[in-house]
């Protein structure tokens, strides 16, 4: 039973992380550390990004050609790998967001009104 739970949680995290990365990149190119920081800041640190799983996620997205990468220099003059949304990535972001809203609203309807 425990392996099963763990497995389903990983699947959920992966899926969610992908969507969040795409969302962060909509504001322009960003390197891995920047993406992690952006997610943490924007969610008031509710979601802590495991840096260890960030890079596999980035590589996955890159392989699917939803993002692409190039080496650039950061504002504080460090060479880093910067990621950028592709056209397909933009489309995937829309689809994913859409599905997410439908799913969460469906779940919300079942769970009832939010408690204040």
């Amino acid at each position: 039973m425990s392996t099963q739970d763990e497995n389903e949680r990983i699947a959920l995290l992966q899926g969610t992380l992908d969507l969040l990365i795409l969302r962060v990149l909509i504001f322009g190119h960003q390197h891995g550390q920047g993406i992690a920081r952006a997610i943490e800041q924007q969610t008031d640190r509710t979601l802590l990004v495991d840096h260890g799983s960030l890079y596999p996620a980035l590589q996955r997205l890159e392989r699917r050609e939803w993002i692409e990468a190039e080496w650039r220099t950061s504002e504080n003059n460090r060479r880093a790998r910067f990621y950028r949304l592709t056209r397909a990535g933009r489309k995937q972001l829309m689809t994913g967001t859409n599905q997410w809203y439908r799913l969460s609203s469906a779940i919300a309807r079942i769970l009832g009104p939010e408690k204040a």
Binding site: G52, Y55, E62
Partner: protein
């Protein structure tokens, strides 16, 4: 760097370092000391090595990891629904197992090369309606052929008596020319095979022994070389042969059985192989010279035949004769090929039904799991991955099914070869070899993919990400596909059931065909005295011996009458004698007609209840010093003297002239399908003075009442009273012999019946499942209708009607398919048309009723729906 490739190893290391450096910068900016910031940054990032490991794994083993995950997931999800899994596995195991088992026989019989050197080049040359090839034809062929590298002659084995030393033995023997073994590439295990010097005039006749016979009869002793065996029977020459060698154990004599012959005799391997006389009519086994085809050989040999034959035969006979060269393997396999391919098609059909059924089951599952897929899709699972998940599940099922199938096939290999390959005498073993394993695997994968993909079509039309709460309502698309699969199942099942019905009627027709004698109440047993002596002594001994045997058995209470014969119906192939003619009458067809010979005692026809159509039976006065007499059957009259009265005329038979004293009704020789062969019956007493010894005859005893098998103990007592060295074997009732003669048909009928029953069960389960599922999905609708006052009968009727359509369409398709399939089965049927209307109508009706019953049972459940509960359920 190309798009979609991801970073290289070095780039990735650099990227991580950059990440840590950037993090450190940020922490310093937040106010930490550079040292603390560096430590903190590393800690936040976590285990760098682990991340790099994951990087490598993801690049190299991503797909493997996915497969592992999918498999584990599929395994768990199958375990969660044991009902579905059990049904799917069971049907898959049966479907795949039947295919694997039949294929292992096909592989052994049709695909495995013969155990001769370069077996592809070997051909059998025949020229129906003429039996063997006469010497002048073989001489002409040898002088002029270019397509053949060499050819040898042989006379297939027939059973009879051999006297080794002074001891008579019952053996089967074949004759071959001296180049027969070199042609096949066979060398002796002990001693030698034949040499060309053996065939020179004046050289003594030589013989080789089969390995098994040598072990059985001579204890495998090597001093057998140089001993003399004497062949003394109507089919043998009566001359002495010197044993020169023993054949290797693996050697199989190429027995090509005449089409339609009963399987029982087809595999008859000769115990003794004797060098042939050159003046004999022989079967011809050829080896093609390189680059030539059987067709080219046929054309060339046929041309030579036409030129030479006009000097020997009437023009009409030459016209009718076709010289055909057939690859040896094809000829040995004979109509077993047809039966095997038919069975292969049938098991293929069963697998299709299984496939459709599993697709249907999976479809229901996939539809039921729509919300799960929707969530997965929403969380970023790609469609490809979801498809793979479903496919993994069906492939996993198929994989387990394949393993179970192999076990089933392994078990089946104990039973099937004797049922299917009995006639293919060249097949020694049927085993699960690489070919079978590959076949099994390919079939399992195809089944898994096919049923998985079919179930996916329902989803692909709508996509995974449909609204979770609407998933249960959209049944329509699914239903259409379900109905299609159902119709296909019904169609295939109908074809199978029809074929099984036709085959079982064939069996019945054969068992109840007119046989010209009464088999009920007949006990048969082969009896051979222990005796020795010279051939004339043996002739006298056997004649008086069987007189006494018949007298003894006649005294047994419960025996109505008793007789003995050298051959009885279904006891084995009787060799034909060619060159039988009616004295004083020119006959054009005589040379081609081969006539069978049976030696009988007086009272044989009465005991058999074989009707005498004219003249008289033999009696005790037909002794060696009287006129030599014979009784012939009506096939003989038809073949040789249809136009003239035959009674009282004389026929030339070998060296003797026989007067025809009676004509009897035809009885079958070896097969019930073949028209009866011309028969000449000769009284045993008059064989004295000929070159023949009949030491072993089949005794027939007719019981007054009841089961003749019960007579055997007292019959044996009566015979043994004459001496305890008397061998009694092959004790069978005539009905048992009959059953053995129709074994091929019975086995076909059983196998097809079994396959049809399996397919029917699977299809019934399919109909039941689909209707049950549809009912469970429409509880609400039923509830509303019942609440609004619909009668139960209407509700049930509506549901049954829905499945009636696919069943009706399936039946229509099945009838059309059966009419096509009939062409393939036509040759295996007997006295029934492949499109026999009553059978078609009865089968279609029975199948419709069965299918509708399968629909009606779950449909009734709809009426038990409590309307209140049904409405609340939503």
């Amino acid at each position: 760097m190309a798009r979609g490739q991801g970073p290289s190893d070095d780039e990735f290391r650099e990227e991580i370092e950059a990440h840590v450096a950037l993090e450190t910068d940020r922490l310093i900016a937040d106010g930490l000391s550079p040292e603390d910031a560096a430590i903190m940054a590393r800690r936040t990032f976590g285990n760098v090595t682990r991340v790099r490991e994951r990087f490598f794994e993801s690049r190299r083993l991503m797909w493997l990891e996915d497969v592992r995950q999918d498999t584990r997931f599929a395994f768990r999800s199958l375990r969660r629904s044991p009902g579905f899994t059990a049904v799917a596995l069971l049907t898959l195991a049966i479907g795949l197992g039947a295919n694997t088992a039949i294929f292992s026989v096909v592989s052994a019989v049709l695909l495995r090369p013969l155990a001769y050197s370069d077996p592809d080049q070997l051909i059998l040359i025949e020229h129906p309606p003429l039996g063997g090839s006469p010497p002048w034809l073989r001489d002409a062929w040898r002088a002029r052929t270019r397509t053949l590298a060499d050819f040898a002659g042989f006379e297939p084995s027939s059973s009879g008596t051999v006297v080794a030393g002074n001891q008579p033995m019952h053996v089967s023997a074949a004759h071959v020319t001296s180049n027969f073994f070199p042609l096949l590439g066979i060398t002796a295990a002990l001693g030698r095979t034949f040499a060309s010097t053996d065939a020179q005039p004046g050289a003594p006749t030589v013989a080789v022994l089969a390995h098994n016979f040598w072990v059985r009869q001579f204890g495998g002793s090597s001093d057998v070389i140089g001993r003399t065996v004497t062949l003394t029977d109507v089919t043998f020459t009566g001359e002495a042969g010197i044993i020169v060698g023993v054949l290797p154990q693996h050697f199989r004599f190429p027995v090509a059985d005449p089409p339609g012959n009963a399987p029982l005799f087809a595999a008859m391997q000769p115990d003794v192989i004797v060098l042939s006389r050159d003046d004999a009519w022989q079967q011809v086994l050829g080896r093609l010279s390189p680059g030539n085809t059987p067709a080219a050989a046929s054309a060339e040999l046929s041309g030579i035949f036409k030129q030479e034959a006009s000097a020997h035969y009437a023009a009409s006979l030459v016209e009718r004769t076709h010289v055909v060269a057939t690859p040896l393997q094809d000829r040995l396999v004979g109509d077993t090929r047809h039966r095997l391919l038919l069975l292969m098609a049938a098991v293929g059909c069963v697998l299709l039904v299984v496939c459709a059924n599993i697709a249907n089951l999976l479809l229901a599952r996939v539809t039921g799991r729509q919300p799960e897929f929707a969530i997965r899709a929403a969380l970023g699972a790609r469609t490809g991955r979801l498809i793979r998940m479903i496919l993994t599940e069906s492939l996993l099922l198929a994989g387990f099914g394949a393993v179970a199938a192999l076990l089933l096939a392994y078990w089946g290999n104990g039973v099937l070869p004797s049922m299917l390959a009995a006639r293919a005498s060249h097949v020694e073993t049927v085993s699960i070899d690489w070919w079978v394993l590959v076949f099994n695997t390919v079939l399992a994968v195809a089944t898994g993919v096919l049923s998985g993909l079919t179930s996916l079509t329902a989803i692909r039309s709508r996509g995974f990400a449909c609204d979770t709460h609407r998933a249960g309502q959209s049944v329509t698309g699914r239903t259409r596909l379900c109905e299609g699969l159902l119709a296909a199942e019904v169609a295939v099942v109908l074809v199978l059931v029809l074929t099984a019905a036709l085959l079982s009627q064939t069996l019945w027709n054969l068992q109840h065909s007119n046989r010209g004698f009464d088999g009920d109440g007949l006990l048969t047993a082969a009896v051979m005295p222990g005796m020795s002596g010279t051939i004339p002594e043996l002739q006298n001994l056997t004649s008086t011996f069987f007189d006494r045997v018949i007298e003894q058995i006649g005294r047994v209470p419960g025996v109505e009458s008793v007789a003995a014969a050298s051959t009885v119906p279904f006891s084995g192939p009787t060799m034909g004698m060619s060159g039988v003619s009616i004295i004083g009458r020119p006959s054009a067809s005589e040379s081609g007609t081969s006539v069978s010979v049976a030696v009988v005692t007086p009272g044989y026809f009465a005991t058999m209840r074989n009707r005498l159509m004219a003249g008289r039976d033999f009696n005790r006065l037909d002794l060696p010093d009287r006129d030599r007499v014979t009784v012939v059957n009506s096939a003989f009259v038809r073949a040789l003297a249809s136009d003239l009265p035959l009674l009282g005329t004389q026929i030339q038979f070998g060296r003797s002239q026989l007067t025809v004293i009676g004509i009897v009704e035809d009885t079958p020789d070896t097969s019930l399908r073949e028209p009866a062969r011309p028969f000449v019956y000769v009284p045993l007493a008059q064989t004295v003075g000929s070159q023949f010894v009949f030491a072993r005859l089949t005794v027939l005893a007719r019981a007054r009442t009841g089961d003749p098998a019960g007579l055997f103990p007292s019959v044996r007592e009566a015979v043994w009273a004459l001496g305890h060295d008397i061998v009694i074997d092959e004790v069978k009732t005539m009905n048992e012999r009959l059953a053995a003669a129709v074994r091929t048909e019975r086995d076909s009928s059983i196998l097809f019946g079994l396959l049809a029953a399996i397919a029917l069960l699977v299809a019934v389960a399919g109909v039941y499942g689909v209707v049950a599922y549809s009912v469970s999905q429409r509880t609400r609708e039923m509830g509303i209708r019942i609440a609004l006052g619909a009668r139960h009968g209407q509700v049930v009727g509506d549901i049954v009607r829905e499945s009636a359509w696919p069943v009706a369409i399936g039946i229509a398709m099945g009838l059309a398919g059966a009419a096509v399939a009939a062409r393939a089965t036509a040759s295996t049927l007997f006295e029934i048309q492949p499109t026999d209307p009553p059978t078609y109508v009865a089968t279609a009706l029975a199948l419709s009723l069965t299918a509708l019953t399968a629909a009606w049972i779950p449909a009734r459940r709809a009426t038990r729906v409590d309307p209140i509960k049904a409405l609340r359920a939503e």
